[in-house]
């Protein structure tokens, strides 16, 4: 099963992504974990395009 099909993974991922958006809205500084999650989003985006 691919990541995009795994509902639990997707849910957790989207929640964390949403939390980052909230941080950015409040102009808070992102942590290394946050940037790593954004890196993950970018890699998954590339994979979906390929």
């Amino acid at each position: 099963m691919s990541i995009n099909e795994n509902e639990a993974f997707k849910k957790d991922f989207n929640q964390k992504l949403e939390a980052i958006k909230q941080k950015l809205n409040k102009q808070e500084v992102l942590s290394r974990q946050d940037i790593a999650l954004l890196l993950m989003a970018s890699v998954l985006e590339e994979e979906a395009k390929a």
């Binding site: 099963m1 990541i3 795994n6 639990a8 993974f9 957790d12 991922f13 964390k16 950015l24 102009q27 500084v29 992102l30 290394r32 974990q33 940037i35 790593a36 999650l37 954004l38 890196l39 993950m40 970018s42 890699v43 998954l44 985006e45 590339e46 994979e47």
Partner: protein
């Protein structure tokens, strides 16, 4: 290929580590490796680390190991998996970055420009960052001039005069004039074999199999070559079968060797000083340029030979003169006019000459190929100019076309503005069409200058208002609106006059990366950007004026600038 090393030794330097991020494909890694080879000639003691994707770095590890002190292969895809979950995947990704961060990195350089590479760059602990990255507030920043140039010009148009290796070198701080490529030919005049790469990543960039079949047939029939090794990936098998099943090649099958899917190291070892490489623009030509193997590249579609020519001297590139060439990957095209504009007869004639003499004799070429078959192409030879940049010399047509002329203008502008060096421009004729276009450009260049001067005026007004005891916010807002208006007009001007777009695009990228943490510093930086536009437009105006005669003549002779 070898290069001449500058013998002068500078002041004692402590060993610094430079970390280079190159997450794009094999061809880009090879071009990065060429730039690092030049860097090492300038700074032999510097330690250089490459960060690349595993699937692209491993096939060319034998080249990477020659140039880099360390290669860290990232395997981003497998780090992300459902078994480890989101938190586990984050840990996996960070643990790969931690391997990079074990070194004490002085400078990290991102040469890839993808979103992924910008995040990787953000996660690397380095004293200085060159090239794009995200700040911890998720603001994208590219602070160095050459990376801004690369992003503004290379990605948007075909007026970039620089080979990507030289551009990467400039980003890394290489002084290319100290690393002039050697003129000694690796390849012998008389050759007996060809490494052929008739495939490409996109249909736009490759001929159909039938044209290559004609070339192979003709070279064997005239005994110009004894064997041809065809290289490519496993995905090229159907195309290879099409070539081999052609009835005209039935008698020559035992002289054609398929190397599809073979390791690149084997291809590299196979090429010797009696080999000619012929093929479309691809990483194979970049790979063989490390050895100095003579090459003939057939450039089509989106390929921009000035940027991607193999980085060694005496290589040849044939490119179509089609008006829409080079196009963009997003441009739709079903007819492929540029494919038709390069006749295979011309490629055969050039190949024969290169196989027997390493060079092209124009008179001989004109007797073996009709004018019709030569008028639709440009033939370029790689060479270096007075400051060591790799340049393309048009060996077929002496009259410059407008884009060639503007590439020369821009080379002078950027080389002087960003590196304080001046490339020579040689005496050459310009075509009648070129002259007409130049005459029509005077007014838009004047407009560009005027807009830049207005930009300077309003940024100065803002600075004056801020320096008052009681700055008037309303006035500052009004001046800012004027500046926005100027920027919109600059955009319109660049769209209407694409030959001026590089100046506007570079200014836009610089403006989005302003350095300063208060309104005064930012406004001052904006002023200097308009100053740069103003200077560039003045230089362009002077250049165009030099070429436009007071009385109309058929052609104008270029003066030494």
């Amino acid at each position: 290929m070898s290069a001449v090393k500058n013998e002068s030794i500078g002041p004692e330097e402590s060993i610094k580590t430079i970390s280079i991020i190159q997450l794009t494909r094999i061809g880009d890694i090879l071009q990065t490796a060429q730039a690092v080879r030049l860097l090492k000639l300038n700074h032999p003691k510097v330690r250089v680390q490459l960060i690349a994707r595993k699937q692209f770095a491993e096939p060319i590890k034998f080249i990477i190991d020659q140039v880099f002190d360390e290669c860290i292969c990232l395997d981003l895809k497998t780090s992300i998996n459902t078994r480890d979950g989101v938190n586990g995947s984050i840990t996996n990704l960070l643990s790969q970055i931690d391997v990079v961060n074990k070194s004490n990195i002085s400078v990290s350089v991102n040469l890839s420009f993808s979103k992924t590479s910008k995040y990787v760059h953000s996660l690397i602990n380095s004293e200085h960052k060159v090239g794009p990255y995200y700040t911890h507030n998720h603001v994208e920043l590219t602070q160095d001039n050459w990376s801004q140039y690369l992003f503004s010009t290379v990605m948007r148009g075909d007026l970039n005069p620089y080979n990507l290796v030289d551009l990467f070198g400039y980003i890394l701080g290489v002084k290319v004039e100290k690393t002039h490529l050697n003129n000694i030919e690796f390849t012998e005049a008389s050759k007996n074999s060809i490494i052929l790469h008739p495939f490409a990543s996109h249909d736009k960039k490759r001929w159909t199999e039938s044209k290559w079949t004609e070339i192979i047939y003709n070279l064997f029939k005239t005994n110009s070559v004894q064997k041809i090794h065809v290289v490519g990936g496993n995905s090229d098998k159907a195309s290879m079968d099409k070539i081999l099943s052609s009835p005209i090649l039935a008698n020559y099958k035992n002289q054609i060797f398929s190397m599809l899917g073979k390791p690149l190291e084997e291809v590299y070892q196979l090429a010797d000083n009696k080999t000619l490489f012929i093929g479309h623009d691809s990483m194979v030509s970049h790979l063989l340029s490390f050895k100095g193997v003579k090459s003939l590249t057939v450039s089509l579609g989106t390929v921009r030979p000035h940027e991607t020519a193999p980085y060694s001297l005496g290589n040849f590139i044939i490119a179509p003169k089609t008006k829409c060439y080079p196009c963009f990957p997003t441009d739709k095209c079903s007819y492929f006019q540029c494919h038709a504009d390069i006749p295979y007869q011309t490629v055969i004639a050039i190949s024969k000459q290169l196989l027997s003499s390493n060079s092209i004799n124009l008179n001989q070429l004109k007797t073996s190929v009709t004018d019709l078959n030569l008028n639709t192409v440009n033939i370029y030879k790689t060479s270096t100019n007075n400051i060591g940049q790799l340049v393309l010399q048009n060996v077929l047509h002496s009259d410059l076309e407008i884009k060639d002329l503007f590439r020369d203008f821009y080379n002078l502008i950027w080389s002087f503005t960003l590196n304080q060096v001046e490339p020579n421009m040689k005496m050459q004729n310009i075509s009648k069409d070129c002259l007409q276009t130049l005459s029509a450009l005077k007014k838009p260049i004047e407009n560009l200058y005027e807009l830049a001067e207005f930009g300077k005026k309003y940024t100065r007004f803002i600075l004056e208002e801020i320096s008052n005891h009681t700055p008037n916010i309303k006035s500052i807002k009004m001046y800012s609106q004027k500046i926005d208006e100027i920027d919109r007009l600059l955009d319109i001007l660049a769209t209407a006059t694409p030959l001026l777009a590089p100046v506007v695009d570079y200014a836009k990228v610089s403006k989005s990366n302003l350095i300063g943490n208060n309104i005064v510093a930012l406004t001052e930086a904006t002023f200097y950007i308009y100053q740069e536009i103003s200077n560039s437009s003045s230089i362009l105006y002077d250049f165009t004026s030099k070429f436009i005669p007071t009385t109309t003549t058929k052609t104008s002779t270029r003066k030494e600038v």
